[in-house]
Amino acid sequence: MDKRFTLGLWLVLGGAALLLSLLIQDFYLRSILNLMAISALLATSLRFVMLMGELNFALAAFTGLGAYSAGYLSTVLGLPFGFAILLAGLITAAVSALFGAITLRAKGPYFLLIGFAFSEAMRVAYSKIDAVGGTSGMVGIYPPRAFDDWLPFVVVGTVLLLLIAFYLVEKSDFGRILFAIRENEDVARSVGIRTYLYKVIAISGACFAAGLAGGLHAFVNQVISPGDFGYLLAAFALAYVKIGGEDFFLGPIVGAVLLVALSSYALGLGGDEHFLYGGAIIIAVLLMPKGVLGMLGKLRLKAAVSNDKVSADVH
């Protein structure tokens, strides 16, 4: 029952999101939908790495790398936009694998802190490279005119595909290994699993998605600047995961949708938008450590804590 239900859930949610991307004509709502989809993907990528107990704060850097690669490939080298985005993802995956190989040798906060530092470094680096517009950023990253009306559909579609991929991997043996690494890495090692290798693969997989998200971001906004990819990007993604509920696959998605909707009002608050995000995160970690879905879960049914709760939660 569980499996079939989950499948059904995917069809319903995914189908609806896709439908929405086609139906909505209002430009503002379209931009919000794009933003929600991309944010959801970033948050899911962040959570995927959290499955093995690491916090990938280099997410900002790799999203930026994806965005800039896509921008450069399409505007300078004139690659078709689908290809540019895909290639951007691959480049990001490769670089992140190297990054992970270096930083994941020590457990704990080193990976997190270096990720942070790395994001800041990349930000400075972009501003030094005139080929990508330096400090004023890259402009004119347009998708082909034909795609203009289809862009939301393309974005939502791509994001959905990646989300499904993440879901399947999480439910696979690979996912089991990530759990084992988080809770009891020695066990995994003692039965011959090469955990270090799996960690690196997990990072580059997650960053592949981040790279694609960056590419989509570039084409959706058509303008990117170094400032877009400061560590706050990762901080917000973290907020999405935390608000939605990190124990649930849908958590980051729900969190992204909620907070993006919320912040689109908060934009009117001027500088006070930070209050909103900061407050939301604090409230979440202090009052509802299991996020919105966790609260709903408590209300709905007293099912045991499990990462299959996804399915349990939504009927």
Binding site: L113, I114, L238, I282, V285
Partner: protein
């Protein structure tokens, strides 16, 4: 040679501040195993309070040094109470929870950014020189102000080092950071030690804040730059290691100084980040980090 002395002097001056920062970060990590991103805001608050009060007090007829000392005490007090608040209502519940505490601190960073902007406004505040004049050390020009700053920083570093080595509190702190369960078994009150560790760290940040107020640009966002450098210093030195923090700070300051002199300061910034990666290649846990 002349240049070299000047630059070294500069590096030491900057490094002194980073030391105060990284000592706090490394102390908190050692005791509580958390990464505290709001540390920079404790610093900012102290600096802002000084920048706010000093002109008023001076106008009130106090002599500059007197006004400064008074303002500093207030600044430190405010910063410490902020620290206590953060600990009691926040981090106390996230001991040894790296991810959880980090998320909390990010939330607090965003919130406090907004708060500080509201309370103090975005405008840059000037703090008049307290100890005017300068001296020449081996041809290197150094202001009394900076000299004072260094002296205090070194004093703090040394006393903390000795305290950790010899005082009972120090022993407890070390025991806790080495193995908190064992420490609790032998009757060390972990939660109290953790609180003390957190407050000592906050004190260091606050002191750095009041010391820097007269020599730098005081605005609500000032903390971030120092925080980043401080973290890089502890990563290089090894989280939880006091000598590591000190050497890391000096290292970062030197790269920054010599880098911006011989290259250009934005490349120096890049160089610092680059070197961190290289250091991690050879010492995955930092130079003085233990398993």
């Amino acid at each position: 040679m002349q240049t070299f002395i000047q630059l070294s002097a500069t590096a030491l001056q900057i490094g002194a501040v980073y030391v105060l920062f990284s000592l706090g970060l490394t102390l908190i990590f050692g005791v509580m195993r958390i990464v505290n991103f709001v540390h920079g805001h404790i610093f900012s608050v102290a600096a802002l309070v000084v920048a706010y009060l000093l002109p008023a007090l001076a106008a009130g007829g106090l002599s500059a040094p007197a006004a400064y000392v008074l303002a500093s005490f207030v600044g430190i007090a405010v910063a410490l109470s902020l620290g206590a608040l953060l600990y009691i209502f926040g981090f106390r519940h996230f001991q040894r929870d790296l991810v959880g505490s980090f998320i909390l601190s990010i939330g607090l960073v965003l919130l406090l950014d907004g708060v500080l902007l509201h309370v103090f406004g975005g405008a840059v505040r000037g703090v008049p020189e307290i100890f005017p004049g300068r001296v020449s050390i081996g041809g290197a020009q150094v202001t009394i102000q900076r000299l004072f700053l260094c002296a205090v920083a070194v004093l703090m570093a040394v006393s903390l080092y000795l305290a950790l080595g010899h005082s009972r509190l120090g022993k407890a702190l070390r025991a806790v950071s080495y193995d908190h369960e064992a420490a609790m078994m032998v009757g060390i009150p972990y939660s109290r030690i953790a609180f003390l560790g957190f407050m000592i760290a906050s004190l260091l940040a606050a002191i750095a804040g009041v010391l820097l107020a007269p020599v730098t640009i005081v605005s609500p966002v000032i903390g971030t730059d120092y925080l980043i450098k401080g973290f890089i210093a502890v990563i290089i030195g090894g989280l939880g290691s006091v000598p590591g923090a000190i050497l890391g700070s000096i290292f970062v300051a030197s790269i920054e100084t010599f880098g911006s002199y011989y290259l250009d300061s934005s490349y120096a910034t890049l160089a610092i980040f680059g070197l961190v990666i290289i250091v991690l290649l050879f010492w995955p846990k930092g130079v003085f980090g233990r398993g």
